[in-house]
């Protein structure tokens, strides 16, 4: 009897959990003091003041190029540090008077390239950059941006050439950072490490640059399996004291690989606003079987659905990882990882595609990544391990 009751209630539980999703209704708050939303900045922040001043300038004269470029630049920076894509839409709006012109001024073209780069419209961004470089062949910003896009597209030789153009145009650490990031993936990580270590000891680096260099060093070390070294470089990057979304996610990935789940949780507990960071938090919660895991999965699923509803697929790498690792649906995750690989080809993109192919027992799907690994002599012991597993698998 008791057993029957238990079975009955378990069945009830399962059925309810399928149909019991409640949809929130719009409501009228009862307390005037209830905080509904936290904004990116206060009105008194210097950044907010500057933005407000520039906006006022542009209200009077929307075609004032200098103010528009300044404001769009501020927005892009803000977007980066807040992890908020709204600022990129705002930057684009500021550039509206020039956006559809056949030959926009180089300064706005450069910003348009960065906005398009962010929307993963890489080929269009490259066209913009080449147009800038035709007019201004010494524009360091354009060369660096171009190099970064080419690297993401795995066009390493072209990317290297673009970096080299920085030699006399920018500070040496920019050149070295650019080259070493590529070298770190393409079989020259020892050399890259050596160069970057020297850069890191230079006292003239800005905070953001220091984080950038230290993170490249940490990730290259982690890919080579030098765990302690990687830890030291991550610590170096955190010591700068500027919050950086990329650093947080790279360190969380490192901790997840080390199975240091508790570390991920204390690192990301309050970072649930960012999809990428929430994903990593949920992965750690899953490993520790924490109850918060269920609600975080539901939250992530809702966010990916909301992104799809507006017809954009910028988060496809994260979505593939979410689908594979949290929803455990390799069949659904694999096409996402493949679509993602067609757009961007960094080690993280390679890894998710290999993992999906392995789980879905589909060697053919892994082939493009295996070719990429061999053609470029990619140094990454986890990718090599996955590649071996796929090649030796009985399927």
């Amino acid at each position: 009897m008791i057993r029957l009751l238990t079975v009955g209630s378990v069945i009830g539980w399962l059925m309810l959990s399928q149909v019991g999703t409640t949809y929130a209704e719009p409501y009228r708050p009862t307390d005037d003091a209830q905080v509904l939303e936290r904004l990116s900045y206060k009105a008194t922040d210097p950044a907010a003041r500057e933005i407000e001043r520039l906006r006022a300038d542009l209200r009077n004269n929307p075609r004032h190029l200098e103010s528009a470029v300044k404001l769009a630049t501020r927005y892009i920076e803000q977007g980066r540090s807040e992890g908020d894509p709204r600022f990129l839409g705002q930057a684009q709006a500021v550039l509206t008077p020039w956006w559809n012109e056949p030959t926009p001024p180089p300064a706005t073209l450069l910003l348009r390239a960065m906005i398009r780069q962010n929307a993963h419209q890489f080929d269009q961004a490259l066209v913009d950059l080449d147009q800038v470089l035709d007019v201004q062949p010494t524009n360091a910003q354009a060369w660096l941006t171009k190099a970064s896009i080419l690297q993401v597209q795995a066009r390493y030789n072209e990317a290297r050439r673009a970096c080299q153009r920085l030699a006399r145009l920018a500070a040496s650490h920019v050149l070295l950072g650019c080259l070493s990031d590529i070298a770190g993936v393409t079989g020259q990580s020892a050399k890259s490490q050596e160069l970057l270590r020297q850069v890191l000891s230079a006292p003239t680096l800005s905070g953001r640059e220091r984080i950038w260099i230290a993170t490249i060093l940490a990730e290259t070390a982690a890919r080579a399996g030098a765990i302690r070294e990687a830890e030291e470089y991550f610590a170096e990057a955190f010591k700068v004291g500027i919050k950086d979304q990329y650093l947080l996610s790279a360190y969380a990935d490192y901790l997840l690989d080390q199975r240091r789940y508790q570390g991920v949780i204390s690192l990301l507990q309050s970072e649930t606003r960012s999809d990428g960071l929430l994903l990593r938090l949920a992965l750690a919660e899953q490993a520790l079987e924490l109850p918060a895991f269920q609600s975080h999965i539901a939250e992530l699923a809702a966010r990916f659905a909301a992104g799809r509803e507006r017809g954009t697929t910028v988060h496809i790498r994260e979505e593939a990882r979410f689908t594979l690792a949290l929803l455990r649906d390799a069949q659904w995750a694999l096409p996402l990882a493949q679509d993602n690989w067609n757009v961007q080809r960094e080690p993280a993109d390679a890894r998710i595609l290999l993992e999906c192919a392995l789980t879905d027992k589909n060697r053919a799907a892994a082939q493009p990544v295996l070719d990429w690994l061999n053609r470029n002599h990619v140094e990454d012991f986890r990718l090599r391990q996955l590649a071996r597993q796929i090649q030796e698998a009985p399927f």
Binding site: L4, L5, G8, S9, I11, G12, W13, L16, S17, V19, G20, T22, A24, P26, Y27, R28, P29, A33, L36, E37, L39, Y41, A43, E77, D84, P85, R86, L88, G89, Q90, A93, T96, A140, Q141, L144, T145, S148, I149, V152, V174, D181, S206, R208, W212, Y246, R273, S274, D275, G276, L279, Q294, S295, R303, A306, R310, G311, T312, V314, H315, E346
Partner: protein
């Protein structure tokens, strides 16, 4: 420019953003000559456009939003122009509430637009925020007569036209039949209630024990009586509720439905307390009808073909019910003589029904969420 140098590099590697880009959610429901609308606009977007943070502390409180309701309405409504034919509709703001989407709090504007005559085509001209955020999108759900369409407004395509052609009565009818069938299949409480009543029909109670019922025709009559009673009862209240003659609070309805399932299950475990199951079916059928009506209301009843959709929906419910009976009855009849039927299927099944329905009842009556969802 120096900081930007590196940022260009890093922009590529942002590990998915903290939010999605800016969207608003617009629902329009066309009823003959007017449009009922709900428009959810992110507070952060409104703040960027017209400034909601009065005290400048970086936090938006309900007080600040409430005090700027006039400005929000004055800003948003002119940026949404609805027109039918050559006639521009006049929009009246009804209410402003708050809701939360995946990327934060939204102001919910409820409005009604009158278009001066029956609407045969609706043109929606959407101009919100494009001047300050070129990647903003307006996500539209347009419903008309139970049919839903979606569309996306962007800076590149800010205006779109929708034909609100009279749909054929046949198409409308079959759609509501379809909805009715699905509702009874997916509304587990109705299915369980029905099954609980049907479980003992292939047995008869004699000398305090369950015994297999004799011939198939008497079983069928028994089932027919129960189903007819349930159908008559719920059709009655469904119509009363759909025509707005009787209204009951949904919490009461939903809890009573759950209680009816509990009782139906208990009735099988203690058979002496219910010899006439058709009476039970009729009595609780009345309350299940109110449950169906809530679904029908959510579907959005077309006012001009109210009766048709009501009847079609009901026909769908009956068809769905018949399918359940057709799947259940022959099987139960075949195995009624087996040792396991009275013990495992009837007793075990009824226990499971009671357990499930008790959870439902507790949740609905006390407004609890017993599940970790």
């Amino acid at each position: 420019m120096r900081t930007l140098l590196v940022i260009a590099w890093l922009l590529l590697s942002v590990p998915a953003w903290a939010h999605k880009p800016s969207d608003s959610y617009l629902s329009l429901s066309v009823h003959n000559d007017r449009v009922e609308g709900q428009w959810d606009i992110a507070l952060r977007d409104l703040d960027n456009a017209i400034g909601l943070d009065r005290d400048g502390n970086g936090r938006l409180t309900w007080g600040e939003v409430r005090e700027t309701h006039g400005e929000i309405g004055a800003y948003a409504l002119p940026r949404l122009v609805l027109s039918a034919g050559t006639q521009t509709c006049t929009t009246q703001l009804l209410d402003q509430l708050i809701d939360h989407h995946t990327d934060g709090a939204y102001s919910v504007l409820r409005f009604r637009s009158g278009c001066g005559g029956p609407i045969e085509g609706l043109r929606v001209d959407y101009q919100l925020l494009f001047d300050t955020d070129a990647q903003h999108k307006g996500l539209l759900r347009l419903t008309h007569g139970g049919q839903t369409r979606t569309a996306i407004f962007s800076k590149e395509s800010p205006a779109q036209e929708f034909s609100i052609a009279k749909r054929s009565l046949w198409a409308e009818g079959t759609q509501f039949i379809h909805e009715g069938i699905w509702h009874i299949w997916l509304g587990f409480d109705h299915v369980l209630f029905l099954l609980a009543l049907l479980l003992p029909t292939v047995l008869i109670r004699a000398e305090g024990r369950w015994q297999a019922a004799g011939d198939f025709s008497s079983v069928c009559w028994d089932v027919l009586g129960i189903i007819t009673a349930f159908t008559v009862a719920h059709s009655l209240t469904l119509s009363l509720a759909a025509l707005d003659i009787v209204q009951l609070p949904s919490r009461l309805v939903e809890s009573t439905i759950a209680a009816s399932v509990v009782l139906a299950g208990l009735g099988n475990l203690y058979p002496m307390m219910m010899s006439r199951r058709w009476v039970i079916a009729f009595g609780f059928g009345l309350i299940h009808g109110f449950g169906f009506a809530a679904v029908l209301a959510d579907l959005g009843l077309p006012q001009d073909s109210l009766l048709l959709s009501l009847i079609s929906f009901n026909v769908g419910v009956e068809l769905g019910q018949l399918a359940i009976v057709a799947a259940f009855l022959p099987l139960a009849y075949l195995i009624r003589r087996s040792w396991s039927y009275p013990r495992l299927v009837l007793t075990g099944g009824s226990l499971a029904v009671v357990a499930i329905a008790l959870v439902w009842f507790t949740e609905r009556a006390f407004d609890l969420q017993l599940l970790p969802l």
